[in-house]
Amino acid sequence: MTRIKILLADDDFEDRYIIADAFTEIGYNDAVHMVTNGEEVFAYLQAINDPADLPSLIVLDLNMPRMTGTEILANLKSNDLYRSIRVIIFSTSVNEKEKKQCMALGALAYITKPVKYQDSLVIARQFQEYSAMEKDNGLSLSSDV
């Protein structure tokens, strides 16, 4: 079984389907685990015993019921166990205020959801690249992806 590299949280079934389709297209779907809300994010992470098995990238939708992407991000970054996991915000539109807030909380990037089929493939490949990077790579990635 392939090790899970990416944990993606989105309450929207269609968006999960679209990005899953893109991951399949680039042959990386096995490395991706999807959940639908913040509680499931933490349930998934807490079930992992060996820190080496933690995902290297967490992708968060912003508008989710009960716990927003921003709140999940803040919780992750304030937890010693999960602080080093890279987080990308994956949202419908760019809201400058939200974007600033997420970057300040320690998000690696703020990526807008695809409007075109080709965009979805590009984004899936970006996620793949981020997840494959060395964990302790302190490089700050450009947020303008």
Partner: protein
């Protein structure tokens, strides 16, 4: 001396009276008959000297008391003039003790007789003696008349004193005290009232108070008075009255109380009016203060409502940026997905419809974007100093692709720095430039001039183009939301762009207008203050 009785000495009859009263007092005091006669004769002889000419002579009879015992009888005769003193000479022979003294401008002759028995006297005994001397049945009609006359004089004196006291009292009070007859005429007014109305009471009555009461109050005042008269009940009133000294109307409060006769019929009214102007002014000030407070509360409520509505607008902006775009993005994505993967499986018509979906989605996206832009124009961001040259360059950069595509030439002069909101001014210049680039004549190379000029406190920026122009009677419509002058198949647009421009200019306390005619290009004129007073 304790006076027991007195007699005014006017004529011979009074001499008889003086003799008689002298006798009676001596008798009561317990003197022997011979001594009684000597005393009474001496008294009447002294008095005889006085009554011979018109005089103000007065005889007083009394006793002196020591340790509750009567020690002496006294008769004192006072007068201004006396023609002779034969009576006194004679009296000296009858009585041991006769003194003559000058008191003020009068002469007083005193006659004294010792009372060897020294009878005990108490208040009760003095009262009894008084009655014996003053109220003993009159013996002669003269005596009776004289007595009655004396009583009457005393009463009149008392009445005068009481009247004087009343007048002094009413005149000294700082309020109007007056009486009215049943016709409403003032029959008495105290000094305060006379001074206040500043004229004789006759004048007040002749004018029926019209010279003191405000014209608009006068009819109501008399109606009220009439009502009070008819019901016969005391009436309270508040009225503005003219102060003759200052010429100002002062608030007075008062009451009118009917005075009835024994049959219950109203004969007159007692009334007063007191100055309550200061109190009224305080009341009014308090009321004004209350009204001011209410207005302030109302204003605060309105501000809260406005803030509420602003918050709702911001919420709408958020909804527009997320929830409205969400399904739209899916429509775009799916149509693009189909186009990318299955285009070859679709018939020509299907391909065309798929393309239409994409175009409609793109337009919807633009529309949402523009509405969002419009709704987020607010002064919340605050004014700062902006270099408009940078703003123009950014606007040109943002329209670079179109400028290249259309081969447009953009000329601009140096612009000043003004106070404004960066993001909104950028939007304004971008919109006006893209507008000029949009409505171009396909047959002519587009030339766009941006010129700025400062006159006083106002900057005027003109955006002129050589495009298709428009009939400028549609100008007002053009700056309203969703108003378009052209069909969409010719010129793309949401009809919000100029509405956004207008809102931004208004927010900066400026004006926007346009001059154009079809085929002759257009000039959009923006006037903006160089400095903003409100931040």
């Amino acid at each position: 001396m304790q006076e027991l009785t007195r007699i005014a000495l006017e004529n011979d009859m009074d001499l008889i009276l003086a003799y008689k009263q002298g006798m009676k007092l001596a008798e009561i005091a317990g003197l022997s008959v011979s001594k009684q006669t000597s005393f009474a004769t001496a008294v009447s002889e002294v008095c005889r000297d006085i009554v011979l000419e018109p005089n103000d002579g007065l005889l007083r009879l009394g006793i002196s008391i020591k340790k509750d015992k009567a020690k002496m009888l006294h008769a004192i005769v006072s007068f201004s003039r006396a023609k002779r003193n034969e009576g006194s000479q004679y009296a000296k022979r009858l009585i041991d003790n006769l003194t003559i003294a000058e008191v003020g401008n009068k002469t007083e002759i005193g006659l004294c007789v010792n009372l060897p028995d020294s009878p005990a006297v108490t208040d009760k005994i003095i009262e009894k003696w008084n009655i014996l001397l003053n109220h003993d049945p009159s013996v002669t009609p003269y005596e009776e008349i004289k007595r009655k006359n004396k009583e009457l004089l005393l009463l009149a004196e008392k009445l005068r004193a009481s009247e004087l006291q009343y007048k002094t009292l009413t005149d000294s009070l700082p309020l109007m005290i007056f009486t009215l007859d049943t016709e409403g005429n003032v029959t008495y007014a105290n000094k305060w009232m006379q001074d206040y109305v500043g004229g004789p009471i006759d004048e007040l009555n002749a004018a029926r108070w019209g010279n003191v009461v405000r014209e608009e109050d006068l009819a109501a005042a008399w109606t009220e008075w009439q009502h009070g008269y008819e019901t016969g009940s005391p009436r309270k009133t508040e009225r503005r009255l003219l102060d003759k000294k200052t010429g100002a109307y002062k608030w007075h409060a008062g009451a009118t109380i009917p005075v009835t006769n024994e049959k219950g019929k109203i004969e007159s009214f007692n009334a007063f009016l007191a100055d309550i102007d200061a109190q009224k002014k305080v009341e009014q000030a308090l009321k004004d203060n209350k009204e001011l407070k209410e207005a302030q509360d109302e204003l605060e409520k309105k501000i809260n409502e406005l803030n509420q509505s602003n918050q709702e607008l911001e919420q709408f902006a958020y909804v527009a940026s997320h929830d409205l775009q969400e399904p739209l993005r899916k429509i775009s994505f799916y149509s693009d997905y189909i186009k990318s993967k299955y285009l070859q499986h679709l018939p020509t018509e299907g391909q065309m419809f798929l393309n239409n979906i994409a175009v409609a989605s793109a337009r919807m996206k633009q529309l949402i974007h523009d509405v969002l832009t419009f709704s987020t124009i607010s002064s919340n961001k605050g004014f700062s100093t902006i270099d408009l040259n940078n703003v123009v360059q950014e606007a040109i950069q943002d329209n670079e692709i179109t400028i290249k595509d259309k081969g447009a030439q953009i000329n601009y002069t140096t612009l000043p720095k003004i106070q404004g909101i960066q993001v909104h001014l950028k939007q304004l210049f971008e919109n006006l430039l893209s507008n000029a680039l949009k409505f171009t004549d396909p047959a002519t190379d587009p030339i766009i001039d941006i010129e700025g000029e400062v006159a006083g406190e106002m900057l005027t920026v003109k955006f002129s183009d050589n495009g298709i122009g428009f009939d400028d009677r549609y100008m007002d419509k053009m700056f309203s939301l969703f108003q378009r002058l052209h069909t969409r198949d010719k010129y793309e647009g949401t009809g919000i762009g100029l509405g956004i421009c207008k809102k931004i200019v208004t927010l900066h306390n400026g004006e926007i207008s346009a001059v154009s005619s079809p085929g002759n290009g257009s000039t959009f004129i923006v006037r903006l203050p160089v400095t903003q007073t409100i931040n």
